[in-house]
Each structure stands twice: as C-alpha cells, then as structure tokens.
C-alpha cells in the first residue's frame, strides 16, 4: 500500500475515533446536544497523536467537524474547530515534551506534566470556543465567562481522565495479565459499578475513594487510570440523568460540582498510581544495586583469597626453598669443617650469597603486599618509587597537599601499579603518564599511555578487580581506549 494512502487511512481512523469519543461525550452532556461536564475527545485525541504521531492532526479537524453544529454561523463552527484542534495538538506535544517521552504515568512529575499540558491546551480551546459562540451570536456576552469556564473544566476533565486511560492501556494484552490480578480487576470494576449505582451513594460521593485507592495500590498507573475513567464516566452519566450526589439546583452548579469531583478523583488516583510505580522502580533499583554489591563483595573476597594463595605459593616456592637449601648447605659445611676447610669456605661463601638473594626476594615480596614507603611517606613518594621501577619512561604529576585516608591511598596506589603493569604487558606503548590530583572531597588518578589503545574492559579479571576496589570506596573507574589513540584509566575516589 502506498505511503500516502496509508497516511490518509490513519487520518481517517483518528477522525473516526475522535468522532466516536465526541458522540459518547454527548451522552454525558447535561443539556441535550451540548455542555458536557466531561469531554472525552480531548484525552482521546491527545493519546492518538502521542501514540501514532502528531502528523495525524488533520484527523482531529475531520472528527471535530463531523460533530459540529452547522446550524451555527460558519465562522463560529470554524473558530471552535480551530480551537479544538489546537487544544489537542498543544496538549499532546507539551505533555510528550514535559514527560520526556515517558507516557505511562509512572512518575509523579508525569502527572504534573499532564495537568500543565492539558490546562494549556484546554485554555486555548475554551477561549476560541467561547469567543466564537459569542461573536456568532450563539450566546450572549454576559455568559462568555461561564461558558469559557465550563468549556475549560469539561475539556480539562476529559484530558485528565481519558489520556492516561489510553496511554496506560495501549498495547496491553489481557492475556499477559496474571489471572489472579485480572480477577481482582474485575472485582474492583464490579464494586465501582455497584457503589456508583447504589441509591445510598446519592449523598456520599466519596464512597468511591477506597476503591480508587485499591485500584491504584494494586494496579499502579494502569489500575488508577482505569478505575478513574470508570468512576468519573458513571458519575457524570448519573448526573446527566439527574441522579447521584451532584445534581444541583442549576445546571452550572451541577457542572462545577461534577467537574471538581472528576479533577480531584483523577489527580488523587493518578498521583497515587505514580507513587506506587515509583516505589516499585525504587525497590527494583535497590534490588539490582544489592545484587551488584553482593557480586562485587564476592569478587573482592575471592580476589583476596587468590592473592593470599599466590603469596603462600611465592613464599613456599621462593624464599622458603632457598632457606631450606641454605640450612642443608650450612649443615654440610659443618660436617666438612675439619676434613675439608677449603671446600667449607666455598660452601659458606655460596651460602652468604644465597642468603643475600633470599633477603632481596623477601623485600620485593613485602613491597608487593604493601609498600612501606606508602605507609611511611604517603602517595607522592610511593608513586615516585613505583614510577622509578617502571621499564617505560613515565611522566608523573602528583598534586596532593596532605595525606589521604590509608584505604584511599592503598587503592590509588594499587590502581596506579596495576595500570602501569598492564601498560607494560599489553599496550605496546613507548611512554606512559600518571597524574594524581587531590581535591577537597575526592582524589582523581589518571594512568595513560601512547600505545595501541582498543583495550577491552570486559576481558580478563584485572580491570574488574580494580573497579571493585574503587567502587568499594564509593568511587568510579573509567577506561577510555579508542583504537590507535592510547589508553587512559581514570579512577575517582571520594573521601571525607
């Protein structure tokens, strides 16, 4: 099918639905053929433009003309249609912008966005409509204010009730809802119908609020939007048929009472639904965070175990074996002391050399566990020693006015040491840099090189281990490694 034909079809569809919503709305009118307390086409039109595209706005024009009263002057009809179309467009675009594309009322701010957007749109329509009626001589000037108010509140109510209903429920398949929840929904709907039709409700309109709260609590924004649409439609229908608690002495009093009830019910329910959704989201984020923390804690413990095992093996295979050999050599020397003095002297000289090697090895091992210079003199001198031991030329800048907390110093040192080791092993670089800057609340370490770049942060456990350590102190580790442009590892760690 051709693109244009498809577009025209969609415009026709929007027009037809808008027209249906208007026909339904007229059933809710308090005066035959006009003056509605609740005008659904606004909310329906908004939802359609948001869901299927603003470019379908001509459908609103068609739908609106289809229900227009052509006994009025042509200018009056045209003015109202322009106002109604602008209303839907403004409300739809403004809501989408304010809610930043999140159209499911899962945040309280989205409900506020709806109120602002709907109020702006309906204000335009009310002014266009009332003024067109007055200019066309359909209403006397004296009624201008009242008509504009009724128009504004009726349209606003229609937007507050029907836009959330359609936006929340669009694309939801009933089959995807758990049977128990579906049953609960049916129960709420049934109770709302019973309570709304109950004669005793005549004096106590607030009887529906527990049901609205139930729907919002259990169903979130969807439950809230559904229940509010049902409650308000039934209430307005009852009032239009002269039943229920909002029937007053005059038409205007009835209208105002109903419209305020609709607005109050819609806002309360939608806000509660959004709060519930926000609570779900917060809980979910909390769980996710807890899982990440648990994983990271497990990795840290595992890394600690691995480090201790490595240390034990290094000690056992290295220094301990050397000392064992030394013990045997010295025993041999004692055995031969008198029989072969020349041989003994050679053995003792050997032993002395071995002992020196062992001392060196132990010193290296101890430095690897925790460098003494870090404990004694702090990060600046420790990084200098580290850089001196590097095989690459390293440019070191360290701006640290005072000593940092020992844990922070240790992690910064560890990141620098691992960073330089990785550069030496993988980067193919000819020079590296270490930059350290201590601010009042955090310290930032940058380890960079001029190597091949393209380091994959997901490969190996080394970088994950570094990130775990940094994150354990509430910090962040970032790797920038564009291919061919070197690698930069940045750790930012907060401290008190």
């Amino acid at each position: 099918m051709n693109r244009h034909v498809r577009y025209l079809g969609a415009v026709g569809g929007v027009g037809a639905i808008y027209w249906l919503a208007a026909k339904g709305g007229l059933q809710l009118a308090y005066l035959h053929g006009s003056v509605a307390a609740l005008w659904p086409p606004v909310g329906v039109g908004m939802a359609m433009l948001i869901l299927y595209g603003v470019s379908l706005w001509p459908g609103i024009v068609l739908g609106d003309l289809a229900v227009a009263d052509f006994s009025q002057p042509a200018g009056t009809v045209l003015g109202q249609t322009i106002g109604n179309t602008l209303e839907v467009l403004i409300a739809a675009v403004l809501f989408y912008r304010l809610a930043e594309g999140d159209i499911h009322f899962g945040r309280v701010r989205d409900v506020a966005a709806l109120v602002v957007a709907a109020a702006a749109g309906t204000a335009v329509s009310a002014v266009f409509g009332a003024v067109s009626l007055e200019l066309g001589g359909v209403i006397p000037s004296a009624q201008l204010g009242t008509v504009a108010r009724t128009w504004f509140l009726g349209d606003l109510a229609g937007a507050l009730v029907f836009a959330p209903l359609l936006l929340c429920w669009a694309g939801v398949r009933l089959a995807s809802i758990a049977p128990r929840r579906l049953l609960e929904g049916v129960a709420i709907v049934g109770l709302i119908v019973v309570v709304s039709l109950l004669p005793s409700q005549r004096d106590v309109p607030y009887i529906v609020f527990p049901l609205l709260i139930w729907a919002a609590l259990r169903g979130g924004p969807r439950g809230a939007a559904g229940a509010v649409a049902l409650v308000t439609t039934l209430t307005v229908y009852n009032t239009a048929h002269h039943a229920g608690p909002f029937v007053r002495a005059t038409l205007n009093q009835s209208l105002l009472a109903t419209q305020l009830f609709v607005a109050a019910a819609a806002l309360t329910s939608l806000v509660l639904g959004a709060v519930i959704e926000e609570r779900h989201a917060a809980l979910e984020a909390l769980r996710e965070n807890e899982r990440r923390l648990r994983d990271s804690r497990a990795r840290i413990v595992k890394a600690g175990d691995a480090a201790r095992r490595r240390l034990e093996r290094d000690l056992h295979d290295g220094a301990q074996q050397r000392l064992v050999s030394l013990a045997l050599t010295i025993r041999l020397a004692r055995l031969q002391l008198h029989k072969q003095p020349a041989e003994t002297e050679k053995l003792l000289s050997e032993a002395s050399d071995d002992l020196q090697d062992t001392i060196d090895e132990l010193r290296e091992l101890a430095r690897g566990i925790h460098p003494a210079v870090l404990t004694d003199r702090g990060l600046g001198p420790a990084l200098e020693v580290l850089v001196d031991h590097s095989h690459l030329p390293v440019d070191l800048t360290a701006r640290i006015p005072r000593r940092l907390p020992p844990t922070v110093e240790a992690v910064v040192y560890y990141v620098a040491a691992e960073g330089l080791t990785n550069i030496a092993k993988y980067a193919g670089a000819t020079s590296a840099s270490v930059r350290l800057e201590a601010h009042t609340k955090n310290v930032v370490l940058c380890v960079g090189d001029n190597g091949a770049g393209g380091a994959d942060p997901t490969r190996g456990t080394g970088l994950r281990g570094l990130a775990d350590r940094v994150e354990a102190l509430g910090g962040k580790l970032e790797l920038r490694s564009p291919p061919g442009q070197g690698t930069e590892l940045t750790a930012s760690i907060p401290y008190d």
Binding site: H316, Q321, R322, S325, L328, T329, R331, L332, L335, Q336
Partner: protein, 117 residues
C-alpha cells in the same frame, strides 16, 4: 652404603640434599622430579630409601607412597617437605611410610635413625 632415590621438583633442594647425603656416606642412585617417574624409578632401582617430597607437580607424596606399597616395594619411604608434619595432620601418621623429615632438618644421621627405629 645405603642407596637413596631423591624425589623433588625443586632442583636446588635435590642438589643440596645430594651433596649433604653423599658427604655423609649415602649413595644417591637417582633423582626424579615427579610422582609417576618416582614409581618407575623406585621399581627399577630398588633403593634402600625413597626420599619423597610431599608436594609434587602430578601426584602428591602420600599417593606415591600408597602406590609404592601397593606394588610391594621393599624400599623405606621417607616423606619430606618444607612444611611441618603438623600441617598435614593425620595424613602423615596414616601414610605407609617410615617417617617424615622436615627439609631444613634433613641429615644422613636422621635417615639412619629412622631406618633403624
């Protein structure tokens, strides 16, 4: 003169042990570095003593001792390690071996004492 097979993966220990034991009048008939070679060499050489390190790259010393006993070898197996026997708990006391000598305390006199015990 008593014959000894040294089983250890650490070359420096094998060299030191050989020098010391030879100086004390032992005959070092072989040196091997892992468990499987130890079993082959022990069956071939039938030494008086197999000086067997506990930590080997393939089988551990206890396993090697058990297999040697199972094959009816008459050599006396002496375990050695740079760790203490206490580190291995009942493994040492229950192993079919003549004794345990900490590496640093190895001497010909100690081996002789173990064998005559």
């Amino acid at each position: 003169m008593m014959s000894v097979l040294i089983v250890d993966d650490n070359a420096s220990f094998r060299a030191s042990a050989r020098r010391l034991l030879e100086a004390e009048g032992f005959d070092i008939v072989g040196e091997v570095r892992d468990g499987h070679s130890a079993i082959t060499a022990a069956q071939e050489l039938e030494p008086d003593i197999v000086l067997l390190d506990v930590q080997l790259p393939d089988l551990d010393g206890f396993e090697v001792a058990a297999r040697l006993t199972a094959r009816g070898l008459r050599s006396a197996v002496v375990l050695t390690s740079s760790r203490n026997p206490a580190d291995y708990g009942s493994l040492v006391t229950e192993a079919p071996v003549r004794g345990f000598v900490p590496k640093a305390k190895l001497s010909g006199a100690l081996l002789t004492a173990l064998l005559s015990a």
